[in-house]
Amino acid sequence: MIDVRNLRKSFGTLEVLKGIDLEVAAGDVAVLIGPSGCGKSTLLRCLNLLETPSAGRLEIAGRKLEFDGTTRVPERQQAEFRSATGMVFQNFNLFPHMTVLENVMSGPLLNGLKSKAEAKKLALALLDRVGLSQKTDLYPRQISGGQAQRVAIARALALEPKVMLFDEPTSALDPELVGEVLEVMQSLARDGTTMIVVTHEMGFAREVASKVVFMEGGHVLESGPPAEVLGAPRTERLRSFLSKVEH
Protein backbone atom coordinates (compact mmCIF):
# COMPACT_ATOMS: atom_id res chain seq x y z
CA MET A 1 0.00 0.00 0.00
CA ILE A 2 2.73 2.44 1.03
CA ASP A 3 6.29 2.21 -0.13
CA VAL A 4 8.80 4.89 0.80
CA ARG A 5 12.34 4.58 -0.56
CA ASN A 6 15.31 6.63 0.55
CA LEU A 7 13.17 9.67 1.26
CA ARG A 8 15.05 12.85 2.08
CA LYS A 9 13.85 16.28 3.08
CA SER A 10 15.86 19.39 3.87
CA PHE A 11 14.72 22.79 5.08
CA GLY A 12 17.37 25.11 3.75
CA THR A 13 20.61 23.59 4.96
CA LEU A 14 18.96 21.51 7.68
CA GLU A 15 18.46 17.92 6.57
CA VAL A 16 15.54 16.59 8.58
CA LEU A 17 14.88 13.27 6.83
CA LYS A 18 18.08 11.50 5.91
CA GLY A 19 16.90 8.64 3.76
CA ILE A 20 13.80 6.97 5.12
CA ASP A 21 12.64 3.53 3.97
CA LEU A 22 9.19 2.47 5.05
CA GLU A 23 6.74 -0.15 3.90
CA VAL A 24 3.20 -0.44 5.14
CA ALA A 25 0.93 -3.15 3.79
CA ALA A 26 -2.81 -2.69 3.25
CA GLY A 27 -4.66 -3.03 6.54
CA ASP A 28 -1.53 -2.47 8.60
CA VAL A 29 -1.30 0.00 11.45
CA ALA A 30 2.17 1.52 11.67
CA VAL A 31 3.02 3.54 14.79
CA LEU A 32 5.84 6.07 14.49
CA ILE A 33 7.70 6.94 17.66
CA GLY A 34 10.81 8.95 18.35
CA PRO A 35 12.10 11.96 20.24
CA SER A 36 10.88 15.46 19.51
CA GLY A 37 12.37 16.93 16.35
CA CYS A 38 13.40 13.60 14.86
CA GLY A 39 11.25 14.18 11.79
CA LYS A 40 8.06 12.21 12.46
CA SER A 41 5.73 15.03 11.44
CA THR A 42 7.90 15.88 8.47
CA LEU A 43 7.69 12.30 7.23
CA LEU A 44 3.91 12.27 7.55
CA ARG A 45 3.68 15.62 5.77
CA CYS A 46 5.83 14.34 2.94
CA LEU A 47 3.42 11.45 2.45
CA ASN A 48 0.65 13.82 1.43
CA LEU A 49 2.91 16.44 -0.16
CA LEU A 50 2.30 19.11 2.47
CA GLU A 51 6.07 19.18 2.18
CA THR A 52 7.79 18.34 -1.09
CA PRO A 53 10.52 15.76 -0.46
CA SER A 54 14.01 16.67 -1.61
CA ALA A 55 14.83 13.24 -2.90
CA GLY A 56 13.56 9.66 -2.95
CA ARG A 57 10.53 7.75 -4.09
CA LEU A 58 6.97 7.61 -2.79
CA GLU A 59 4.33 5.08 -3.69
CA ILE A 60 0.89 5.12 -2.17
CA ALA A 61 -2.01 2.99 -3.37
CA GLY A 62 -0.36 2.50 -6.75
CA ARG A 63 0.45 6.17 -7.42
CA LYS A 64 4.16 6.81 -7.69
CA LEU A 65 6.24 9.97 -7.42
CA GLU A 66 9.98 10.42 -7.71
CA PHE A 67 11.84 13.46 -6.38
CA ASP A 68 15.24 14.89 -7.17
CA GLY A 69 15.28 18.27 -5.48
CA THR A 70 13.98 20.21 -8.46
CA THR A 71 10.75 18.32 -8.93
CA ARG A 72 7.65 20.48 -8.96
CA VAL A 73 4.50 18.41 -8.93
CA PRO A 74 1.65 20.22 -10.73
CA GLU A 75 -1.32 21.22 -8.51
CA ARG A 76 -3.67 18.71 -10.15
CA GLN A 77 -1.33 15.81 -9.74
CA GLN A 78 -0.69 16.79 -6.13
CA ALA A 79 -4.41 16.79 -5.41
CA GLU A 80 -4.76 13.41 -7.05
CA PHE A 81 -1.87 11.94 -5.09
CA ARG A 82 -3.19 13.45 -1.90
CA SER A 83 -6.62 11.92 -2.38
CA ALA A 84 -5.14 8.56 -1.38
CA THR A 85 -4.49 9.83 2.15
CA GLY A 86 -6.54 11.43 4.89
CA MET A 87 -4.80 13.35 7.63
CA VAL A 88 -5.69 14.13 11.23
CA PHE A 89 -3.72 16.85 13.01
CA GLN A 90 -2.77 17.39 16.61
CA ASN A 91 -4.90 20.54 16.80
CA PHE A 92 -7.89 19.12 14.90
CA ASN A 93 -8.00 22.17 12.59
CA LEU A 94 -11.75 22.03 12.27
CA PHE A 95 -13.27 24.90 10.29
CA PRO A 96 -14.64 27.18 13.03
CA HIS A 97 -17.31 28.79 10.85
CA MET A 98 -18.93 25.47 9.93
CA THR A 99 -21.01 23.13 12.07
CA VAL A 100 -19.82 19.64 12.88
CA LEU A 101 -21.94 18.28 10.05
CA GLU A 102 -20.70 20.89 7.57
CA ASN A 103 -17.13 20.12 8.51
CA VAL A 104 -17.60 16.46 7.71
CA MET A 105 -19.50 17.24 4.50
CA SER A 106 -16.95 19.79 3.31
CA GLY A 107 -14.57 17.36 1.60
CA PRO A 108 -16.95 15.60 -0.78
CA LEU A 109 -19.11 18.71 -1.21
CA LEU A 110 -16.55 21.42 -1.92
CA ASN A 111 -14.59 19.09 -4.15
CA GLY A 112 -17.74 18.49 -6.14
CA LEU A 113 -17.60 14.74 -5.61
CA LYS A 114 -21.08 14.31 -4.18
CA SER A 115 -24.41 16.07 -4.18
CA LYS A 116 -25.44 17.84 -1.03
CA ALA A 117 -27.87 15.12 -0.08
CA GLU A 118 -25.34 12.34 -0.63
CA ALA A 119 -22.64 14.22 1.25
CA LYS A 120 -25.02 14.73 4.14
CA LYS A 121 -25.97 11.10 4.25
CA LEU A 122 -22.35 10.03 4.26
CA ALA A 123 -21.43 12.61 6.92
CA LEU A 124 -24.25 11.49 9.19
CA ALA A 125 -23.15 7.89 8.87
CA LEU A 126 -19.56 8.79 9.70
CA LEU A 127 -20.57 10.95 12.66
CA ASP A 128 -22.58 8.02 13.92
CA ARG A 129 -19.56 5.81 13.55
CA VAL A 130 -17.41 8.13 15.71
CA GLY A 131 -20.23 8.40 18.23
CA LEU A 132 -21.29 11.97 17.54
CA SER A 133 -24.68 11.72 15.92
CA GLN A 134 -26.02 13.98 18.70
CA LYS A 135 -23.64 16.85 17.95
CA THR A 136 -24.14 17.45 14.25
CA ASP A 137 -25.42 21.02 14.54
CA LEU A 138 -22.93 22.36 17.05
CA TYR A 139 -19.97 24.50 16.15
CA PRO A 140 -16.40 23.36 16.91
CA ARG A 141 -16.07 25.78 19.84
CA GLN A 142 -19.10 24.17 21.49
CA ILE A 143 -17.67 20.67 21.74
CA SER A 144 -14.85 19.13 23.76
CA GLY A 145 -11.40 18.40 22.39
CA GLY A 146 -12.05 14.69 22.24
CA GLN A 147 -15.21 15.27 20.26
CA ALA A 148 -13.45 17.74 17.97
CA GLN A 149 -10.77 15.18 17.18
CA ARG A 150 -13.42 12.59 16.37
CA VAL A 151 -15.06 15.08 14.01
CA ALA A 152 -11.70 15.62 12.36
CA ILE A 153 -11.38 11.86 11.87
CA ALA A 154 -14.84 11.68 10.34
CA ARG A 155 -14.01 14.61 8.07
CA ALA A 156 -10.93 12.82 6.77
CA LEU A 157 -12.84 9.56 6.31
CA ALA A 158 -15.49 11.32 4.22
CA LEU A 159 -13.08 11.37 1.29
CA GLU A 160 -12.65 7.60 1.58
CA PRO A 161 -8.86 7.65 1.65
CA LYS A 162 -6.78 4.52 1.22
CA VAL A 163 -4.54 5.47 4.14
CA MET A 164 -5.19 7.52 7.26
CA LEU A 165 -2.32 9.55 8.71
CA PHE A 166 -2.50 10.64 12.34
CA ASP A 167 -0.03 13.16 13.78
CA GLU A 168 -0.20 12.99 17.58
CA PRO A 169 -4.00 12.94 17.51
CA THR A 170 -4.35 12.80 21.31
CA SER A 171 -1.56 15.01 22.56
CA ALA A 172 -3.64 18.19 22.73
CA LEU A 173 -6.37 16.45 24.71
CA ASP A 174 -7.19 16.30 28.42
CA PRO A 175 -6.08 12.87 29.69
CA GLU A 176 -9.65 11.89 30.38
CA LEU A 177 -10.61 12.50 26.74
CA VAL A 178 -7.72 10.61 25.17
CA GLY A 179 -9.48 7.27 25.57
CA GLU A 180 -12.46 8.10 23.38
CA VAL A 181 -10.25 9.09 20.43
CA LEU A 182 -8.02 6.03 20.79
CA GLU A 183 -11.13 3.89 20.84
CA VAL A 184 -12.32 5.31 17.52
CA MET A 185 -8.89 4.72 16.02
CA GLN A 186 -8.88 1.18 17.33
CA SER A 187 -12.23 0.51 15.69
CA LEU A 188 -10.87 1.85 12.39
CA ALA A 189 -7.95 -0.51 12.73
CA ARG A 190 -10.31 -3.42 13.38
CA ASP A 191 -12.20 -2.52 10.19
CA GLY A 192 -8.97 -2.89 8.25
CA THR A 193 -8.11 0.76 7.60
CA THR A 194 -4.46 1.25 6.73
CA MET A 195 -3.01 3.82 9.15
CA ILE A 196 0.22 5.53 10.06
CA VAL A 197 0.05 7.00 13.54
CA VAL A 198 2.53 9.26 15.31
CA THR A 199 1.76 8.90 19.00
CA HIS A 200 3.21 8.68 22.46
CA GLU A 201 0.47 6.38 23.69
CA MET A 202 2.50 3.24 24.24
CA GLY A 203 -0.57 1.27 25.22
CA PHE A 204 -2.08 1.94 21.79
CA ALA A 205 1.18 1.00 20.07
CA ARG A 206 1.40 -2.26 21.98
CA GLU A 207 -2.19 -3.32 21.46
CA VAL A 208 -3.15 -1.99 18.04
CA ALA A 209 0.00 -1.56 15.95
CA SER A 210 1.04 -4.20 13.50
CA LYS A 211 4.34 -2.37 13.14
CA VAL A 212 6.29 0.08 15.29
CA VAL A 213 8.86 2.39 13.72
CA PHE A 214 11.40 4.17 15.90
CA MET A 215 12.94 7.27 14.34
CA GLU A 216 15.89 9.27 15.57
CA GLY A 217 17.68 12.19 13.90
CA GLY A 218 16.06 11.67 10.52
CA HIS A 219 16.75 7.93 10.33
CA VAL A 220 14.66 4.88 11.05
CA LEU A 221 16.59 3.16 13.84
CA GLU A 222 14.37 0.17 14.50
CA SER A 223 11.17 -1.17 13.04
CA GLY A 224 9.12 -4.30 13.40
CA PRO A 225 6.22 -5.84 15.32
CA PRO A 226 5.52 -4.07 18.65
CA ALA A 227 6.43 -7.07 20.73
CA GLU A 228 9.88 -7.03 19.18
CA VAL A 229 10.57 -3.30 19.02
CA LEU A 230 8.98 -2.31 22.31
CA GLY A 231 9.54 -5.56 24.15
CA ALA A 232 13.13 -6.12 23.17
CA PRO A 233 14.70 -2.88 21.93
CA ARG A 234 17.98 -3.55 20.19
CA THR A 235 19.54 -0.08 20.48
CA GLU A 236 20.52 1.76 23.64
CA ARG A 237 18.83 4.88 22.22
CA LEU A 238 15.42 3.23 22.03
CA ARG A 239 15.81 1.68 25.47
CA SER A 240 16.51 5.09 27.01
CA PHE A 241 13.69 6.66 25.00
CA LEU A 242 11.20 4.08 26.20
CA SER A 243 12.27 4.44 29.81
CA LYS A 244 11.75 8.19 29.65
CA VAL A 245 8.38 8.05 27.95
CA GLU A 246 7.07 5.54 30.38
CA HIS A 247 8.62 7.33 33.41
Binding site: L50, R82, F95, G107, L110, N111, A156
Partner: protein, 215 residues
Protein backbone atom coordinates in the same frame (compact mmCIF):
# COMPACT_ATOMS: atom_id res chain seq x y z
CA UNK B 1 -12.44 88.85 24.16
CA UNK B 2 -14.16 87.18 21.21
CA UNK B 3 -17.92 87.12 21.29
CA UNK B 4 -19.42 84.01 19.81
CA UNK B 5 -22.39 84.31 17.52
CA UNK B 6 -23.71 80.86 16.81
CA UNK B 7 -26.63 82.12 14.78
CA UNK B 8 -24.39 82.22 11.70
CA UNK B 9 -24.23 78.45 11.48
CA UNK B 10 -28.01 78.01 11.55
CA UNK B 11 -28.45 76.96 7.96
CA UNK B 12 -29.84 73.41 8.11
CA UNK B 13 -30.33 73.26 4.36
CA UNK B 14 -26.69 73.97 3.65
CA UNK B 15 -25.32 71.55 6.21
CA UNK B 16 -27.73 68.80 5.37
CA UNK B 17 -26.71 68.75 1.76
CA UNK B 18 -23.02 69.05 2.74
CA UNK B 19 -23.28 66.10 5.11
CA UNK B 20 -25.08 64.19 2.38
CA UNK B 21 -22.29 64.85 -0.11
CA UNK B 22 -19.61 63.94 2.44
CA UNK B 23 -21.27 60.72 3.48
CA UNK B 24 -22.10 59.75 -0.09
CA UNK B 25 -18.51 60.23 -1.25
CA UNK B 26 -17.16 58.45 1.81
CA UNK B 27 -19.46 55.46 1.40
CA UNK B 28 -19.10 55.08 -2.34
CA UNK B 29 -15.33 55.53 -2.44
CA UNK B 30 -14.90 53.26 0.58
CA UNK B 31 -16.87 50.48 -1.04
CA UNK B 32 -15.16 50.91 -4.38
CA UNK B 33 -11.78 51.06 -2.62
CA UNK B 34 -12.60 47.92 -0.70
CA UNK B 35 -13.38 46.06 -3.89
CA UNK B 36 -10.04 47.14 -5.31
CA UNK B 37 -8.45 46.11 -2.02
CA UNK B 38 -10.02 42.65 -2.19
CA UNK B 39 -8.72 42.03 -5.68
CA UNK B 40 -5.24 43.38 -5.01
CA UNK B 41 -5.06 41.73 -1.60
CA UNK B 42 -5.91 38.38 -3.17
CA UNK B 43 -3.32 38.91 -5.85
CA UNK B 44 -0.74 39.75 -3.19
CA UNK B 45 -1.53 36.67 -1.13
CA UNK B 46 -1.32 34.35 -4.09
CA UNK B 47 2.20 35.60 -4.83
CA UNK B 48 1.92 36.10 -8.54
CA UNK B 49 5.50 37.19 -9.29
CA UNK B 50 5.57 40.42 -11.36
CA UNK B 51 2.04 41.53 -10.53
CA UNK B 52 2.92 41.34 -6.84
CA UNK B 53 5.61 43.94 -7.29
CA UNK B 54 3.41 46.26 -9.27
CA UNK B 55 0.75 46.09 -6.60
CA UNK B 56 3.25 46.71 -3.86
CA UNK B 57 4.51 49.78 -5.66
CA UNK B 58 0.96 51.02 -6.17
CA UNK B 59 0.24 50.57 -2.46
CA UNK B 60 3.45 52.26 -1.49
CA UNK B 61 2.96 55.28 -3.73
CA UNK B 62 -0.61 55.85 -2.65
CA UNK B 63 0.19 55.43 1.03
CA UNK B 64 3.21 57.68 0.98
CA UNK B 65 2.01 60.68 -1.00
CA UNK B 66 -0.50 63.28 0.12
CA UNK B 67 -4.05 62.43 -0.81
CA UNK B 68 -4.51 66.03 -1.92
CA UNK B 69 -1.98 65.57 -4.69
CA UNK B 70 -3.64 62.32 -5.72
CA UNK B 71 -6.98 64.06 -6.01
CA UNK B 72 -5.45 66.88 -8.04
CA UNK B 73 -3.84 64.33 -10.28
CA UNK B 74 -6.97 62.49 -11.19
CA UNK B 75 -9.09 65.58 -11.45
CA UNK B 76 -6.72 67.69 -13.52
CA UNK B 77 -3.61 65.89 -14.65
CA UNK B 78 -5.30 62.87 -16.15
CA UNK B 79 -7.44 64.88 -18.58
CA UNK B 80 -4.53 67.19 -19.38
CA UNK B 81 -2.21 64.36 -20.24
CA UNK B 82 -4.62 61.97 -21.88
CA UNK B 83 -6.93 64.64 -23.26
CA UNK B 84 -9.65 62.44 -21.93
CA UNK B 85 -12.03 64.12 -19.51
CA UNK B 86 -13.74 62.05 -16.85
CA UNK B 87 -17.03 63.26 -15.39
CA UNK B 88 -16.27 65.59 -12.47
CA UNK B 89 -17.88 63.45 -9.78
CA UNK B 90 -15.95 60.45 -11.00
CA UNK B 91 -12.60 62.19 -11.24
CA UNK B 92 -13.13 63.66 -7.79
CA UNK B 93 -13.79 60.27 -6.27
CA UNK B 94 -11.08 58.41 -8.13
CA UNK B 95 -8.19 59.60 -5.97
CA UNK B 96 -10.08 58.79 -2.78
CA UNK B 97 -11.03 55.39 -4.13
CA UNK B 98 -7.50 54.42 -5.09
CA UNK B 99 -6.24 55.70 -1.74
CA UNK B 100 -8.72 53.52 0.09
CA UNK B 101 -7.84 50.69 -2.28
CA UNK B 102 -4.18 50.86 -1.30
CA UNK B 103 -4.90 50.79 2.40
CA UNK B 104 -7.52 48.10 2.18
CA UNK B 105 -5.33 45.84 0.06
CA UNK B 106 -2.92 45.86 2.97
CA UNK B 107 -5.69 45.19 5.49
CA UNK B 108 -7.00 42.44 3.31
CA UNK B 109 -3.63 40.79 2.95
CA UNK B 110 -3.02 41.00 6.68
CA UNK B 111 -6.45 39.49 7.35
CA UNK B 112 -5.82 36.53 5.08
CA UNK B 113 -2.35 35.76 6.39
CA UNK B 114 -3.59 36.03 9.96
CA UNK B 115 -5.59 32.84 9.49
CA UNK B 116 -3.80 29.97 11.19
CA UNK B 117 -1.60 27.77 9.05
CA UNK B 118 -3.63 24.81 10.30
CA UNK B 119 -6.68 25.99 8.39
CA UNK B 120 -4.69 26.14 5.16
CA UNK B 121 -3.18 22.74 5.75
CA UNK B 122 -6.44 21.10 6.70
CA UNK B 123 -8.02 22.33 3.49
CA UNK B 124 -5.01 21.36 1.38
CA UNK B 125 -5.19 17.87 2.82
CA UNK B 126 -8.87 17.70 1.93
CA UNK B 127 -7.81 18.36 -1.66
CA UNK B 128 -9.50 21.77 -2.04
CA UNK B 129 -8.36 23.90 -4.94
CA UNK B 130 -6.84 27.30 -4.23
CA UNK B 131 -10.10 29.13 -4.90
CA UNK B 132 -12.21 26.70 -2.92
CA UNK B 133 -9.91 27.21 0.06
CA UNK B 134 -10.05 30.94 -0.32
CA UNK B 135 -13.75 31.22 -0.85
CA UNK B 136 -15.07 28.65 1.61
CA UNK B 137 -12.41 28.40 4.31
CA UNK B 138 -10.12 31.41 4.49
CA UNK B 139 -12.23 34.38 3.43
CA UNK B 140 -15.19 33.67 5.72
CA UNK B 141 -12.80 33.70 8.67
CA UNK B 142 -10.61 36.57 7.47
CA UNK B 143 -13.56 38.86 6.82
CA UNK B 144 -14.52 38.97 10.47
CA UNK B 145 -11.03 39.98 11.50
CA UNK B 146 -10.83 42.64 8.85
CA UNK B 147 -13.88 44.52 9.97
CA UNK B 148 -12.27 46.61 12.72
CA UNK B 149 -9.35 47.92 10.62
CA UNK B 150 -11.67 48.50 7.69
CA UNK B 151 -13.96 50.58 9.86
CA UNK B 152 -11.02 52.66 11.14
CA UNK B 153 -9.95 53.23 7.59
CA UNK B 154 -13.47 54.18 6.54
CA UNK B 155 -13.52 56.74 9.36
CA UNK B 156 -10.32 58.27 8.06
CA UNK B 157 -11.82 58.15 4.59
CA UNK B 158 -14.82 60.17 5.72
CA UNK B 159 -12.53 62.79 7.18
CA UNK B 160 -10.34 62.76 4.09
CA UNK B 161 -13.38 63.56 1.98
CA UNK B 162 -12.77 67.11 3.15
CA UNK B 163 -9.89 67.33 0.68
CA UNK B 164 -12.41 67.16 -2.13
CA UNK B 165 -13.31 70.75 -1.32
CA UNK B 166 -10.27 71.86 -3.33
CA UNK B 167 -11.96 70.58 -6.45
CA UNK B 168 -15.21 72.34 -5.53
CA UNK B 169 -17.08 69.28 -4.31
CA UNK B 170 -19.59 70.81 -1.87
CA UNK B 171 -18.79 68.65 1.14
CA UNK B 172 -18.83 69.77 4.79
CA UNK B 173 -15.50 71.58 4.66
CA UNK B 174 -16.41 73.31 1.40
CA UNK B 175 -19.64 74.51 2.93
CA UNK B 176 -17.72 75.66 5.97
CA UNK B 177 -15.25 77.58 3.80
CA UNK B 178 -18.06 79.33 1.95
CA UNK B 179 -19.96 80.18 5.09
CA UNK B 180 -16.79 81.53 6.65
CA UNK B 181 -16.30 83.92 3.77
CA UNK B 182 -19.85 85.16 3.87
CA UNK B 183 -19.97 85.65 7.65
CA UNK B 184 -16.34 86.00 8.75
CA UNK B 185 -17.08 83.70 11.64
CA UNK B 186 -14.54 80.94 11.00
CA UNK B 187 -14.43 79.89 14.62
CA UNK B 188 -18.12 79.15 14.90
CA UNK B 189 -18.29 77.66 11.45
CA UNK B 190 -15.32 75.32 11.71
CA UNK B 191 -16.24 74.24 15.20
CA UNK B 192 -19.72 73.41 14.03
CA UNK B 193 -18.31 71.50 11.06
CA UNK B 194 -16.12 69.48 13.43
CA UNK B 195 -19.22 68.73 15.46
CA UNK B 196 -20.95 67.40 12.36
CA UNK B 197 -18.09 65.01 11.70
CA UNK B 198 -18.29 63.91 15.29
CA UNK B 199 -22.02 63.31 15.04
CA UNK B 200 -21.65 61.26 11.88
CA UNK B 201 -18.69 59.25 13.14
CA UNK B 202 -19.68 58.56 16.73
CA UNK B 203 -22.26 55.88 15.93
CA UNK B 204 -19.84 54.28 13.49
CA UNK B 205 -17.07 54.01 16.08
CA UNK B 206 -19.42 52.75 18.76
CA UNK B 207 -20.57 50.04 16.40
CA UNK B 208 -16.98 49.20 15.52
CA UNK B 209 -15.97 49.01 19.17
CA UNK B 210 -18.75 46.64 19.91
CA UNK B 211 -17.59 44.47 17.04
CA UNK B 212 -14.05 44.50 18.32
CA UNK B 213 -15.15 43.45 21.81
CA UNK B 214 -16.80 40.35 20.44
CA UNK B 215 -13.51 38.98 19.23
Amino acid sequence: MYEFDWSVVMDPQLWLSAVGVTVAYAVVTSIAGLLIGVVLGLALVSRIPVLGWIIRIYIHVFRCTPLLVQIVWFFYALPMITGWTLPDWFAAGLGLTLYMGAFSAEIFRAGVISIEKGQWEASTVLGFSYWTKMRHIILPQATRRMIPPIVSQAILQLKNTSLLSVVAVPDIMYAAGGLTMSTYRPLEVYTFAALLYLVVLTPVTLLANRFELKH
